[in-house]
Symmetry: D2
């Protein structure tokens, strides 16, 4: 099954699924267990407590759902809203597009606020909508914190400020799939009502757990929400939480142990250090892109993403060719441009359990590929720019000092 | 995290999640990969082709959904039915009960046909209903092939015969969670329209893939089904099947490689040999139960399950105590009695990648536990009965002859 | 490479290499590391300290040599003796025979004290030799604590008493390959000068570390020993111990982490509990053999081994056929009869990380095989006898109470 | 045990133990097995056949000894020579020094031919010695193919030519620890009599197998060699080879499966492609060193090693500081300068299962470290030089074209 074997490590720089640290791979290397024995609930209790920390919430209620990000979206929506509810949603790239598609298919009335791909959510329009909505017909604001397709990070603090300013009771639902546990995210402080991520992103696990966290207000809303749901119904979890057995249906034993270890590693490094590391990797990548003379798909600095960089290529180059060549010649996995930006951007994911020298190997590879496809890059230029920054900013590894 | 460590192997005899064979654990012991590289679709193609074999179908369309059995149920129902549709469903134990609960919450009108727990589906009543339903108001028959809570296997061939006899067009939806790939199951021959199982059952993988297989008639029905669905929508898969990329959202790389190996092992042993092995293990277990002087929860031989045996304990014994003691003293994991049979039965799962000597170790353990809790068992009696049968029936391991 | 695949677990009951517990397999599931970084010496320090506990010594100096038991033997001999030295050595089975062969090839003058296979070391003759040796020409007594070929455990306390009684300064060199960390072994109390074992035995690791422990007297002897040696020279280790880097040549990173975990598991269970568990498993096995009407190769109870049982078969049965059939039909690995007892005995190893239900599965398997090869065993009889004993003697698992 | 955890991958660039490819880690992730079952000899047979290919020999006899490189040395010497034999040995760095120390302690008379560290073996002196040795008192020439301490590769073809020229019958014993399976090595063509390597080097396995290959002439010599040996005695292996069981003592099951996979990967890539890859990595590293304005410890191009580069640092820098900082700040493992070159060189290992982007990450790291310690490197310069070469020379990955 490794018929596509190439020597050495695969350099995995897609923005998910990301590199799994060795201790996590080890923790998951195990047989199944009876999830009804006392061991699994005992561990689950610690997971539910600790997972709240990556959301920066003390009041939220987390759900570890055996699903993907798409399922986590569905869980967030169907537990808080009823068919016909009006919601505001921002279309700024492929993943916000897919979420909006889901919202519409789930029968909500969606006010789609579209921006050019490469721009953040248009919050001026949100302000207008909130100002006009005296009757509070808007039931929820749905926003992707970090649009993985374009490398755009939205400003959630501002969204909260607007809601507060207009004293609007709409729920704030946030897709934090490529942000939570990597970017600065503050569920309680920003009054986020439902936040969600997937295990294969910043947590650096395999795909398989959709992690959804609900505020008390969201839980309250779930009692009235009329969307039909069973598998994604929070209520089934809450019943088992009360019983202390936690699982309405069979969890993946391996992912539970993996999550336990992933959280341990994150707390050992320190969540804020994890976020600072992503900031370093993001900055270094952008400096390299600039040194190559290429443009970032993200149009303004305020939207720059520290977990993924979408790089615009000149019109005479097909970005898909770059991704293909990366894999075929350099054992490097880069992200494709999707939908509107297909062929126009390639993406460097710098998300998850990753360090600076791994990124520099990737950047050196990208330079060679750019040359391969006919772009007149100065070899070494991007690495030099990244190194100049990193050499001043990488901290010592605390456990080794 | 192994704070419940006990020396030696854990003897895992719950009817799922079951023991994972070492080659499968090895295959899953890996980093993440880019699922958009050519490697994953190439492997997926083989999985979709090969997984049909365990359903014994050539015309079905399989879906590998990142979910559990509960999600697979939801996928089967929402893709083929519309809210308000009338369906017939058999309540014979905890898992059929849960499925019926789901059916009702998904807004179908359910004719619940209840049997005493320990009996199979009452097909006489089905016959009556079909006979009476000249208007074809019944849209689907939902039946659990093997009720895991009571160890009862229903006769699907008879269900098909009744449908044919009455020329009734109702869809036949089958929960094969604890049967497919372990019991005789014939999707095409029995005209099953949707069949489903979970990865952690006979396939002997971790939890995480709900495997759903749809007949052409079911696919046809999905075009008209009005149940709201996104995550579980077959159509999203079919779109990606056409494109040859297969995945509408991120699959678990590890489970794909695991499934590839699991199927390889099953085909190496031979599917019919796998089924014969389960028959041996089931027969041996029942002979032991008989030798102990205990009753099988399953009331008639025709319903005996070859994947799980629910053992009735005398009224003066709490079966939960048996399960607790198994784990605390013998490192043995048995299945609890659930709901109506809580305290009254314990369950021995003999499902998945398991051989005879493993089962005999379990049976010896059960004998000691029975003695522990005050049941006057003759030690060795169950093992003797099982061995007498097995010694005449175990085949040579083909690869070692 | 798994072309000899059979379903379910392999039942590994050879007296080494033995079953590796899952946490140890996990710990070894890792990439290489630089053994000169600070991490490896820091871990090595704990290993050297902790490994002394399984020898029950506080004054001994341990060496973790990248070799097998045969190499550990060579290390024990060449570091303490000079060519031409007279030693006394007991021939009681295949492994003592091989050690004597090594002793002779290393140019020592060996007084071979032979016993019938199935008997222990003849300590009367040792007494005579010690009594007669006023000139102290005997430089060492070499004795196998537990002869793995016949399941015979020698009485080391008596050897020490004899040496003390005759005030004889001979070194006491002990092969503890199939005893240390499973049988009662007391290096300091019994005045053992060199004791040794291998990682693949009671420690339940892969093969690869020969663990040798030297008393202060043995270290003193090593300064004068003239046997030519480099790879096995303790002095090279001692130099690196002083420097705090520990390794004169590259260790196996994986085995170091594995050993760390193996020791952790042993200490969590409690060394004396580990020994008691082996005693239970040995007793249960012997009760089964008796119930089958077969004879133990070990001729007297005082020599019974709690780590391996050699079972004599009737003359009309070839014991090799039993071993072959175990593997070919039952996925059970038993030990062959070696050399003088080839064809006459088969061996059940009950050594290492193993629990009672595993053993009972094996015993049930042996019963069926005995029947297969024409021995009129009463099926269930051995398991019944073992269970009757075990049910009264198995303790609760402390971590689960 | 991962108390020295740092985020991301450890960048392992010591010249052994080297990075293990994931498929090999997977293959070794397994329980023990009975090595006397038919499965292990069947696999061993393929290993012995295939391992000859990495020596480029058809006439040699390989031995897979459970030991390290030091043990492999001892095996090569003691099986072919007798105490008092005169041998010629070249001292050109730490590893040749250690081998000579072993040769002397094993009681051979060693003509030590010393070169300055950084130079290759002085073959002029060899010529003189051979020319003068009409009596053929020289029994063996011992030479390290690649001196890992200084990054010097000796010219074995010339050694053979000299032996042939003077019609000298001395055995040619070669330490190929850091060369075989990475550098061009031709046992048969160059008339090497004993060649050896260790599993943790180019084969990219854990430490634990010393692989020794003997020519027919060496096997002949072993019949007359009087060096005392047991554990390392080839004859014990040859006896078991004849019996078809192969193992005189317990092998590591895990390493056998690992070796099988390691060889499979090497043959899939193609041995000559593996060698070409090492040549690319070596060249790229040297170009980077040059671009940094630093000197290679290796004094002439003809001796340049493609598996390790020893980099001289300016006198005002302590090279140990570079290595320490690499580990403490960048999660990068570099090789220390040893003995005479301690403090003066640091070493970049580019050996084993490694690809270009991994190396470039390392080189970028070294640049930052050089700056850290006060060397005025131009950041990006080394990477640029390496990339300029690599971009023209990396082939497509054959399985992905």
């Amino acid at each position: 099954m490794d018929y596509v074997y190439g020597p050495g490590k695969n350099h995995l720089f897609v923005p998910g699924p990301v590199n799994i640290p060795e201790p996590v791979i080890r923790a998951m290397n195990r047989n199944n267990e009876d999830y009804r024995s006392p061991a699994i609930p005992a561990m689950t209790r610690t997971l539910l407590e600790d997972v709240k920390k990556i959301f920066k919430t003390t009041t939220g209620t987390p759900f570890l759902i055996p699903t993907t990000g798409t399922g986590a979206w569905e869980s967030a929506l169907t537990n808080t809203l009823s068919p016909g509810d009006r919601i505001v949603s921002f279309l700024i790239g492929q993943f916000s597009l897919l979420w909006i598609d889901q919202q519409q298919r789930l029968k909500f009335i969606v006010d789609v606020v579209e921006s050019e791909w490469g721009q953040g959510a248009n919050l001026d329009i949100l302000a207008e909508k909130l100002a006009a909505d005296h009757a509070h017909t808007i039931k929820a604001i749905c926003i992707v914190h970090n649009e993985t397709a374009t490398g755009v990070t939205n400003n959630l603090a501002t969204v909260r400020k607007l809601l507060d300013h207009y004293r609007h009771p709409a729920l704030l639902l946030v897709d934090g799939v490529s942000s939570i546990c990597a970017l600065d995210f503050r569920m309680d402080e920003w009054g986020v009502d439902v936040a969600l991520t997937g295990s294969q992103k910043a947590l650096s696990l395999p795909t398989g757990i959709g992690i959804v966290c609900a505020s008390p207000k969201a839980l309250e809303a779930s009692k009235r929400a009329k969307s039909v749901r069973v598998f994604f119904d929070w209520n089934d979890y809450l019943k088992f939480y009360k019983m202390g057995t936690y699982w309405p249906y069979t969890p993946s034993i391996q992912l539970l142990y993996g999550l336990r270890t992933a959280l341990d590693l994150i707390f050992e490094e320190g969540l804020d250090n994890v976020i600072a590391r992503h900031s370093r990797l993001g900055t270094a990548t952008r400096l390299a892109v600039e040194a190559w003379g290429l443009k970032n798909c993200t149009q303004k600095e305020e939207w720059h993403s520290d977990t993924v960089t979408a790089v615009l290529v000149p019109p005479y180059i097909d970005s898909a060719e770059i991704v293909k060549r990366a894999w075929k010649r350099y054992n490097l996995s880069l992200g494709l441009g999707l939908n509107k930006v297909a062929g126009k951007v390639f993406r460097i994911g710098h998300l998850g359990n990753l360090n600076e020298l791994q990124l520099l190997g990737c950047l050196a590879g990208v330079e060679m590929i750019l040359k391969d496809v006919g772009y007149p890059v100065k070899l070494g230029s991007g690495v030099a720019a990244a190194c100049a920054y990193l050499q001043n900013n990488i901290p010592m590894i605390p456990s080794r000092v």
